[in-house]
């Protein structure tokens, strides 16, 4: 297999290897965050179950979002440096550059998720999920990563400078904190609670949490997938139209 997208992915792969701090960041920060919440802060929370069991699904989603900033920067620097014009003038697939960025992002977030799960198990996370539940959870995690990656690519393309690309991602990185990732929505104050209930990350995290605890909720899973499909479509179409416009 040697399509344009695969060749481009190889390029992104080399970039990732050359820039280990980006990977380190994407892995270390979520892990530190997890240790902080589980050991330091989480003991004060009463969430009904062991806090590590409650928080691991949320940490997985936090890890996905946190790793996106490297993608926005990479996409933006591709666009602002001359290299993209070279690709555009060549007889290669228009979306190869973008496909490769999405694939590289997903690979990077899978590494971070593996680290989170590893640390989670070490801290006592136990799942009563069966194989089917695990596959379902993995499916939703991949869908979230895919959707968030496309949205990030669009934001990276849209931003005029690397600085604004970084800024554009802040809401996406903060959004999981305002969901049921850290504490149940029911414990939040009025206003923020309604926001948390209806934003995409709550059904996404609840569906993963349900699957990993062996008590899947069809409603949440459906809402999560609907959000993922919607975000992917918006991100993909926005990316392509921005890519065409920017020469």
């Amino acid at each position: 297999m040697n399509t344009d997208s695969v060749i481009m992915l190889r390029r992104n792969f080399k970039h990732t290897v050359r820039n280990p701090t980006a990977v380190f960041n994407a892995v270390i920060f979520p892990v530190v965050l997890m240790l902080m919440f589980v050991y330091v802060i989480g003991r004060a929370f009463n969430v009904g179950v062991k806090y590590i069991d409650y928080s691991t699904p949320g940490m997985i989603v936090l890890a996905i979002c946190y790793g996106l900033s490297a993608t926005a920067l990479a996409v933006n620097s591709d666009m602002t440096k001359g290299i993209i014009n070279r690709f555009k003038v060549m007889d290669i697939s228009r979306s190869a550059v973008l496909n490769a960025q999405v694939a590289a992002t997903m690979l990077r977030s899978l590494i971070a998720i593996a680290a989170i799960l590893g640390v989670g198990f070490a801290l006592g996370f136990r799942s009563s999920a069966n194989l089917g539940d695990w596959l379902g959870a993995i499916g939703i995690i991949l869908a979230v990563s895919f959707a968030a990656s496309w949205l990030t690519v669009a934001l990276g393309l849209f931003a005029k400078t690397p600085e604004s690309a970084g800024m554009a991602l802040v809401p996406l990185i903060l959004l999981p904190f305002l969901s049921s990732a850290i504490v149940p929505v029911a414990k939040m104050g009025t206003g923020i609670r309604q926001f948390a209930e209806y934003q995409p990350f709550t059904p996404i995290i609840e569906s993963i949490r349900g699957l990993l605890s062996g008590a899947p909720s069809g409603g949440y899973a459906l809402a999560a997938l609907a959000w993922c499909v919607g975000i992917t479509l918006v991100g993909y179409l926005w990316s392509l139209s921005t890519f065409k416009k920017r020469a």
Binding site: N2, D4, I7, R10, R11, K14, H15, R18, N19, K81, G82, I83, I84, N85, R86, F87, K88, V89, M90, D91, I92, A247
Partner: protein, 314 residues
Amino acid sequence: MTTTAIAVSGLRKAFGDKTVLDGIDLEVPAGTVFSLLGPNGAGKTTTVNVLTTLMKADAGTVRIAGHDIGTQTKAVRAVVGVTGQFAAVDELLTGQENLQLMADLKRVGSGEAKRVITGLLERFDLAEPAQKLVSTYSGGMRRKLDLAMTLVGNPQIIFLDEPTTGLDPRSRRIMWQIVRELVADGVTIFLTTQYLEEADHLADRVAVLDQGALVAQGTPAELKRQAPGSHVRLRFTDAGELDAAARVLLGSVRDNEDLALRVPSDGGVKSLRSLLDQLDEHSINTEEFSVHTPDLDDVFLALTGHASIEEQAR
């Protein structure tokens, strides 16, 4: 047998209400060097961008190797190579990896790719830093790598947008040498430059672009014929001397501001001697004496209206 590599007619392009290209017509025979000459902002880069499918024209037709850029974009992209004004290289890869990326994208077989890449690295004087990241390269090295990347896959028509701007003399000579070698191999080169010397050295045909329109087209020799003829320029210390000289030398043109006089002359020894004799005879003191033969600079200045002081005084 001559075929047309690039045929452009009635090309127009505007950004908002600012017209950048205002009806360009040109034709480049295959296997020749065509140079588009013009000052900054004349529309050179826009022309290259349109011709290489990066931008869409507002009006006019462009055929590259017989393919229409609007309807046969893919075919056009398959035959052209472009080296733009800003090095289009991947800084996070090494020089070697950049070339390998191009070879992969153009589906050059792996054995052939290795040979091509080694050859290009040697040719561009980049063999030694080949394994270093491009982020450590100097500006000149990036430009050379950029052109080397363009050459992977042997494009038939190569667009070079100010390829030597900002290069040191040694790198510039390497670039020129490579352009000549490419043309010898039958490649067509479309070159934009601000340097007349470059166009004079390399180009078979030159077109002068100014404010979106071609103001002249021809071989370097033809264009030089359009320049004001060769002349002698005399400069004096005071207006009295200038007056005296202007009375004596028939057909001369004054430049009062500079206290200079421009005298038509063929630049030959005989006519120069007689000019000097005349000055001597009338005891006219000349501060400075210089002989000018026209070069493309004169043509350029005369045609684009960004005239030198002599031109303005005429």
